[in-house]
Point group: D2
Chain length 392, copies 4
């Protein structure tokens, strides 16, 4: 794309952090949506690798639909029972492998490995099903021996930089809740959690929902003690006191009114999940920011613009802020058109907030940074193909 095609515009609006109100959300690593995303992304990386190994190049696939059907459980203080395991369905399309490997077997094994690496409990209990079919001929045609595949769809990718202070605290809370330190210190803390942050003027409020594990909790009293200790510990780390499991019924005598689980996962009891309903590729859900509905997880980055352009827009926004002086905040929108080269989006739009008037020089620098990243989009696609993306 020529630099001239890139639209750069000044946002007269102040950065998000200086507005009076702000909300954002993070779904933790054991959240049903996050698990489904992670499993499909693991399947995508494994499929790309299997095609390269068997055929010397990647081929058409797209496993960006998935459903986690929650199970049934019977939590009890001291240890209950998982009555019915959750079922994970990985759905999509993939080119036939000519019998050199089993497409669905590769996907299912990658998903299982992902669960084992992610969850402390119950990874074996998940039932995994694949519904992966051959795609339509015209879409498969986009994948030839081309060094530079074209867009497979008319899609939008967006990104922004930097994270606001609220967003940073939400991400830090998530990191703490998933950390080895917390897991060691609070064995009762489950892998499934959710963090919601809200700022009204200067006041930040944090709400955390986290599943507790029944075999580590022996009474309602102990449940509330653990919750208290967890809140205390987080307060020290964050400087803000989160509210935890606000739905808990302190008056309830038994297990019923508490967020108590057998496995540390809400998916054990009917909480279902889907691909593309959780965190965006920046780890957050931010309704007042530019935000894409595209599911990144499970897509083949080579040509599935919905994945690649979101990662790319995020990286461009960051590069613009870090490499161009006076840029306080950037948000980027990229639009592909089906059949066009990936390095030539139909539209590229960068909106910036500056700490000084936006000069022509700066404007050109923003264009140059953007263009340089677009030019290296195939390199990025290859890296994503190999490494996958993390959504939590």
């Amino acid at each position: 794309m020529t630099n001239d095609g890139i639209i750069v515009e000044l946002a007269p609006l102040p950065p998000l952090s200086r507005r009076r109100f702000e909300i954002c959300e993070h779904k933790g690593l054991g959240h049903p949506d996050t698990l489904t995303d992670g499993a499909c992304e693991a399947a995508a990386v494994a499929l790309a690798g299997a095609y390269r190994k068997a055929f010397g190049r990647s081929m058409h696939f797209n496993v960006d639909k998935g459903l986690l059907i929650g199970g049934r459980s019977s939590p009890r203080f001291g240890g209950g029972e998982l009555l019915l395991p959750p079922k994970l369905v990985i759905c999509g399309r993939a080119a036939a492998s000519d019998g050199r490997f089993g497409v669905e077997t590769v996907a299912a094994e990658a998903a299982r490995t992902f669960l084992r690496q992610t969850l402390r409990r119950a990874a074996e209990a998940f039932r995994i099903e694949c519904e992966i079919r051959a795609g339509s001929a015209s879409l498969q045609g986009l994948y030839g021996t081309d060094a530079a595949p074209n867009a497979n769809d008319t899609s939008i990718g967006v990104g922004f930089w930097p994270y606001s202070p609220l967003e940073q605290v939400v991400l830090k809370t998530a990191a703490l809740l998933g950390s080895h330190t917390l897991r060691a210190r609070f064995p009762a803390a489950g892998d499934d959690f959710k963090v919601m942050g809200l700022r009204r003027d200067g006041a930040i409020a944090l709400t955390v929902a986290i599943a507790l594990v029944d075999c580590e909790v022996h009474s309602a009293a102990q449940y509330f003690e653990i919750k208290q200790a967890l809140a205390d510990w987080l307060t020290v780390q964050l400087g803000i006191r989160p509210e935890i499991n606000t739905l808990d019924d302190a008056a309830a005598a038994g297990e019923a009114g508490l967020y108590l689980t057998v496995t540390g996962l809400s998916a054990e009891m009917g909480d279902d999940g889907q691909v593309g309903r959780g965190n965006r590729i920046n780890g957050l859900i931010t309704p007042a920011r530019v935000m894409s509905l595209e599911a990144a997880a499970g897509k083949n980055p080579a040509g599935h613009v919905g994945k690649l352009y979101n990662v790319l827009a995020h990286r461009i926004a960051r590069a613009v802020c870090e490499e161009v002086p006076d840029i306080a905040e950037a948000s980027v929108q990229l639009v592909s058109q089906i059949g066009r080269p990936l390095s030539e989006p139909w539209a590229a739009y960068v909106q910036v907030v500056t700490s000084a008037p936006l000069s022509l020089v700066r404007r050109e620098e923003v264009r140059a940074v953007t263009a340089s990243r677009l030019a290296r989009v195939y390199e990025l696609a290859l890296r994503i193909e190999t490494e996958g993306i993390r959504l939590a």
Copy 2:
């Protein structure tokens, strides 16, 4: 909520329509995501009705997860074959019905009826499966005999008003593509389509992808004639010429390079769908607007804030624009907290663009309009429960 709690802020930014760049998207009524949304929403309305009929009140349910697993087909000029039907999975939780009715039967029948009313072809061919389980006790407890249920989750609802000219043209294109007039005039036009709109400064570009039906098309030449005629007709109606099926390969001799289908649905050939991945409750996907990731379809509005607050925020934004003078554009954010009354959000934030300086009087009027809508939230919940929402 007291009016004082409602934050009203001036957006110094010009309305979206005056920015240099804008994109938005609509997924048509036969798009796999839209079908999955519609089926789950139909199931939700049916379940609410069945509970009221059997028990005199609604009960806990949530069928907001769904997966449409695409089939396989063999399109041929003059009429091909559907080799494997698509499979629709409706997933969620619902209170047990004590045998008075079958929860899954009610949901499946409602989904079937929805398909019959929506699609001209192949409604019978869909395989429908339900995975609806009893929910956890604490969530079920939110549904008592209360006239005023509380929030079941910490969720965000957002909305804006008015539609920009680009958004209006995308919605109009969608309406035309789904209209009786077009269906009568172009029998080859399928029910599955997608509209993407993009504006660069004053120039609007429209891209339409629409499945053509093979039994109405007898050659590649006729395919391109129909496409041309459709583009001509839309141009007359819209004043803008859309590009249609840009991936078509004009050089291809046979069916392979064209968007040709047996049923008019991409779901016949492996295009999968999910709940919550399509249009927002305003009928659009708008990455640069406030936008929620919550899936509205399939939720019980009484207490599932993710559904109710999005509809409510949309209505508040509209009411603010229509009832308060000088308000050119409004965007609304509402945040619930688990356990709080629905009429008392944790936060309500209204950002306005005005055609005149924002006076204290106007600010109070915005608050008053917002508060009046919040006060009637239960009425809205009941209407949604009975009528459902439309996403396309």
Copy 3:
């Protein structure tokens, strides 16, 4: 078939009832295998009717595979909970209906209706899934407009007559356990039962396993009282005292050691079922008699010899005994060959036990009775198509 082709042979063996040892078994109407058979047979009758209504003639179908995946339950004295419903999968092939009706919808609705008519409890709770695909072209070709379709397979049908005294008492026990009288008198008696009969010389032993329904039983003591009363009542009716639920643990304090269920069905707790694993078309399982492994349920009788020839052989055996003097017992074997007319089996073999030496006249009479039944096989096929067969 010409009479000469029919082989008639004298069995020097005495009738079964005069041998020293004999066993037979009946699976009751709520047994998982019987339910799966019944559901598939109901689907077959409904499909045949739907084809006739839509196309004026029957078409190719075969839904003779089915799986009942047991659920999970938590029985409690006074009434427990069905945690996970059983799932019934109806599997097979059927000609496409051109959209005039939904093949899988017709099958699923017929199965649901069958469950409602058969079970007193939990019919609504069953999850029903269909996996019905189009068949291969050559098999479909067997169904043209022919008045007289040919065999679709090389299959064996067998039958015998009369029932031995042991077999009669097993069938009578089954009839009593499924009767209105018993259901009214013993509301705690479930729909799922099994009867095993064994004779050693003159001594008959009957074992009955029958699920009791927890909401009708309030203690272990009452459980054993009901069992006793049921045994008493059956003893009066049968003249033989059956042993009931021999696995019961009289020492067990709670529900655990008893055959206690929420729904009266073992399928609620993981007891799975399959088509073709239950009673033969004469209502019994008789390992020492001629016996076919063919599943009759779910097949299209017009051409699916596995179904038709078993019914026919049973009827021929009966007719031979009833219409030819001196015939004390008959067993019949019919073999089809793929592609041959149904009225022309590859082999027809009748083995008889006589009360007098087998004269040439009698032998010819046996042949004549057999031939006359073979000649009317299409009539029988049509009646089966319309009415279905009963396996319990």
Copy 4:
């Protein structure tokens, strides 16, 4: 069991081979029923091993229900396409593994390995799903630390010896069709075949149905040449000329009228399979012999009498013939009663055909052989648990 309890009776009937009529059938190793049996049996062996490894002893399981849902294919001379893979569902119950291993993962992997070892093509393409649930408490209770578990059901096991000449030729045909020699000589011969044998007086007729593989067949003419060559070769080996694929339509121009497949399996095109519908544990289906309906495959032999007693009855019949002089044929029936030790059947019945009058000495010898085999039933159970059984 004391010898006195074993009933031995003379069958005045001549051995089967001297009657005027006889039929039997074998389903080959790639037949859908055989594959389902084999997969469930492989799962059973793997589960038993996993329990022993993790817990030091076997535990309760029963995976004796299974369904193979056929796929869809498009065979073409020179090589067609598998449009939709077959799906194998393994269903049953198993004690929870406490997370030490995944019950369903172990079963699915064993089934996959079985397919790879059995099939030359398409083993990777099968979709494998497990539906394995925890069993009811009372059944689990049968598996304690007992050295000698009790019967879990009232079941019947039967067996006979020797094979008749017809049965031997059917088994030999099956062995040839699955042999390395044939596979090397006829690469077009598929893994799915079925053999039906029929004898009328001295004349034996053999019918073979065998799938041909499309990539090894380039025209209808070549198809018929291969069939001819295969029939010639089998005739030399067997001394009898089989009829092959009698449904073939010699007049058909294209692929449609032939038994042509992509994978060599009828399961690719909607031919479904089930556990327990194929060969008995002696490798045959013999309607006029003693025959059990029990599915042996997938059962835990320790306590699942339906499996163990069939194997045992077969072995007793063989031992009686081989170890007791003058015994020409034996058929054995064993009946368990739920809760009784396996070595103490409710009834044991041996019917013999002798070449000399049945003396008291011989009668006692038959009893002794039977009793000695019953006494070693636990040893047999252990061997079956470790090695599994072969049904084809």
